[in-house]
Symmetry: C2
Subunit: 258 residues, 2 copies
């Protein structure tokens, strides 16, 4: 939740290379409201979309039902991976030892300014954050699996963060649900290149900043089951809810106590 004053937001922690952090900082300092700060998402086939930074400051009653369900289902020590400004952590900190990581120094600064324990880190290089009972991949972060080739390394990193009996709670987006003609054409193009239909190569732009290209892997639940096969993780269940195509996946840790 945005505070009513922002005087202590730390400008100097957002580097010129961190346009995403600048976006969050700008939205935060202006007092988040719909439509005020927008980022452009450019797909490698030229398709463009726009995302409202307000989403990073929404309250639980504004979330997709499956995000609310994920946060409600968290237990024990919790890590929110790719936590942005910490909207999920704000709902967790009363009842949980909850930590967040995000690659953006600017995002981390805004999250800390909201009183959260958030550190710079990625799913592959999370830093020295310890181990957890619940690992959250919300706000599209199931897509951090990236590609079938990249997924085993991501799942192995998640194993190193997991306590015995740990669960991953991840919100995914089924690319085949309510796909528009433009999206179906992209799926076909991917299949022709031997890539999964839902492997989406994008970059994000804000004002003068453009991110590197990166891949997000959108999966149906059955595709997710295939991707995790052979890892320390098992798809225990999935729940569709809210906007068409969004689902909560629950993965349980099969790894032995270390």
């Amino acid at each position: 939740m945005p505070p009513s004053t922002h005087a202590s937001a730390r400008h100097d922690e957002a580097t010129p290379d961190d346009g995403y952090g600048a976006l969050l900082r700008d939205a935060y300092e202006a007092g988040p409201r719909r439509g005020s700060h927008l980022q452009v998402v450019e797909r490698d086939d030229g398709y463009v979309g726009v995302e409202d930074a307000y989403r990073y400051f929404t309250r639980p009653d504004e979330w997709e039902p499956c995000e609310r369900r994920a946060v409600a289902a968290a237990r024990g020590r919790v890590l929110d991976i790719g936590c942005a400004a910490g909207r999920h952590l704000l709902a967790l900190i009363g009842d949980h030892d909850a930590v967040g990581i995000d690659p953006s120094p600017g995002a981390v600064a805004v999250a800390r300014d909201q009183g959260l324990d958030v550190r710079v880190g990625t799913v592959l290089e999370p830093g020295d954050v310890g181990t957890f009972d619940t690992l959250l991949l919300l706000g599209g972060n199931l897509g951090l699996l990236g590609s079938p080739g990249n997924a085993p390394a991501v799942l192995a990193s998640l194993s190193r963060l997991a306590r015995p009996g740990a669960r991953i709670l991840a919100v995914g987006h089924d690319p085949y649900a309510a796909a528009t003609p433009e999206h179906r054409a992209y799926h076909d193009r991917n299949r022709e290149c031997g890539r999964p239909a839902g492997q989406v190569r994008i970059r994000v732009r804000y004002k003068s900043w453009t991110s590197d290209w990166f891949d997000r892997l959108l999966l149906s639940p059955s595709e997710l089951q295939e991707v995790v096969a052979g890892s320390d993780w098992k798809l225990a269940g999935h729940y569709y809810s809210g906007k068409v195509g969004f689902f909560l996946a629950e993965l349980t840790f099969l790894g032995a106590e270390t």
Copy 2:
């Protein structure tokens, strides 16, 4: 003003090359509301911005004060050049013989669906629309001057549309008012290339569609005065009002009766 039903909007008049028309049609058919349909504006230095299609469906009380003033000052037969879906014409048709032109077949279809007399045409190729007492260049359309090299042809075309005593009422944007560091850097880059600071090369994107690159000429009132020198038009006055940098320019026709 958006109508409450959109059943008769004509899909087939928006071509696949007319993404701008598709944007207007999509927003119109969904029932225009803020944030629902957005277009990306990409500058040739990589800077990106986002424009809300809702602006094309705003009511007079939502306009910049100088746009309201322009519409209120229109007299006689009126041509709205680059009229989009016709938001200004809707406020004019009760009291005026008012015609619009726009290069986008999709925009023209939406405007006609709202009961307006709008035809496909551009400032340089307006078609057989006759002559006018008032020529409107609203919604940033003073920028259609394009460049100092292009401006004489635009002004000559406007002369051919003008009756004796005609006026151009144009809303401009002074590029030096409240320029951000990114915009100032762009001005410097332009000057280094020998272009006016406010000559902005952009393209517009919506979903899978990307327009060609085109130039919009942002001018201060004194620069406008220089650009029209030697033409049939004289800058009679300008009025700053509303959002910083926006001004209404009134140009009077010096041409003899033909």
